[in-house]
């Protein structure tokens, strides 16, 4: 018994080590979305390109799509824009844009200059849909399945690696088990 007690601190240190080691390399700022498995919240917002066109959650139904949250004020969105163009053009991915807390004129200039990877862009100047979707920064990218249910949320920039390793498997799964 006494022998065992001698090794107790070592045991505690080992357990603590294992627990802490498991946390290394994880990014604590990436939170799991509370919306996974739930439908996209109801909304009624204008199209970025045409203020007279109203969009609602029906836009996100019918096929597996990405919903990409972006703004011209967001430097990382600029970083990922080229990759979104690549996804839309080379991979034929359907991407819906959510222009978040932005200015319409700025956003239109941005798409004009850098290219427009989006099928449709929802204009959300006050961030209401963003808020309902639990967006706490940009860029964020959601995988939405054919019935309009959120399957996955990626916080941060989408690039080739994220696409190959994270988004594509989720999309394939959503296509098969739609």
């Amino acid at each position: 018994m006494k022998r065992f007690l001698l090794f107790l601190p070592l045991l505690v240190a080992l357990i603590l080590g294992v627990v802490l080691f498991a946390g290394i390399g994880k990014d604590p700022t990436k939170l799991e979305s509370a919306l996974i498995g739930k439908p996209v919240p109801a909304f009624n917002l204008a199209d970025l390109h045409d203020p007279d066109v109203k969009l609602d959650q029906g836009l996100l139904k019918g096929k597996v799509q990405l919903l990409n949250v972006w703004g011209t004020w967001c430097p990382s969105c600029r970083d990922e824009h080229g990759d979104l163009m690549w996804l839309a053009r080379e991979k034929g991915v359907s991407i819906i844009g959510l222009n978040y807390k932005d200015d319409r004129a700025d956003a239109l200039v941005w798409l004009d200059r850098l290219g427009d990877p989006y099928q449709t862009t929802i204009y959300d100047p006050k961030g209401t849909l963003g808020f309902d979707m639990g967006v706490y920064g940009a860029p964020e990218t959601f995988v939405i399945d054919a019935s309009g249910v959120v399957r996955y949320r990626h916080v941060g920039v989408v690039n080739e690696k994220v696409w190959e390793e994270t988004l594509l498997p989720v999309i394939n799964d959503a296509r098969e088990n739609g």
Partner: protein, 159 residues
């Protein structure tokens, strides 16, 4: 003069940061304002993580404060407000997670630590009492060995 410039800048900018957090809401009573403040302090900012939304200058915290205010004004209970935000941003925003299977260890840890500590103290006390009241008795065999060793020792000295 320029020696004080950094300090002056610091004061200026910290003032600006404070101003950003204190957005203006109107309340009917002090109680209501207290309730708002308490709620804002219980909710964690999803972006900044180590701050509650009352302290944080992040845009998302501002939006969350606005939602808390809006719901409060609409007559929602505290639990309704926290649940509504939890449905969007996840359990993470609760500084006090609900007591359930997954969080029970978190809630029970202080009690476990206290009980563990008490057990250790009790163990030490019991052992020290036992040690002082009863001197360990030697068996007949051990006594014989002791005497033999002592006797040998004496012989060595006299030799």
């Amino acid at each position: 003069m320029f020696r004080f410039l950094p300090a002056l800048l610091f004061v200026l900018f910290s003032g600006a940061a404070m101003a950003e957090v204190a957005d203006v809401y109107e309340f009917d009573s002090v109680d209501e304002e207290m309730r708002f403040q308490n709620l804002a302090e219980e909710l964690r900012c999803p972006k900044c993580q180590n701050q509650n939304i009352a302290d944080s200058a992040a845009p998302i915290s501002k939006d969350m404060r606005a939602e808390v205010y809006r719901m409060m004004r609409g007559g929602a209970s505290n639990e309704e407000i926290v649940s509504a935000l939890e449905a969007r941003f996840g359990e993470f925003i609760r500084y006090k997670p609900k007591v359930e299977k997954r969080t029970i260890l978190l809630w029970a840890t202080p009690a476990i630590a206290v009980i563990g500590g008490l057990l250790v103290v009790a163990g030490v006390v019991v052992r020290s009492r036992r040690g002082s009241s009863q001197a360990p008795a030697l068996t007949a065999e051990e006594k014989a060995r002791v005497e033999k060793i002592l006797a040998e020792n004496d012989q060595d000295k006299s030799a």
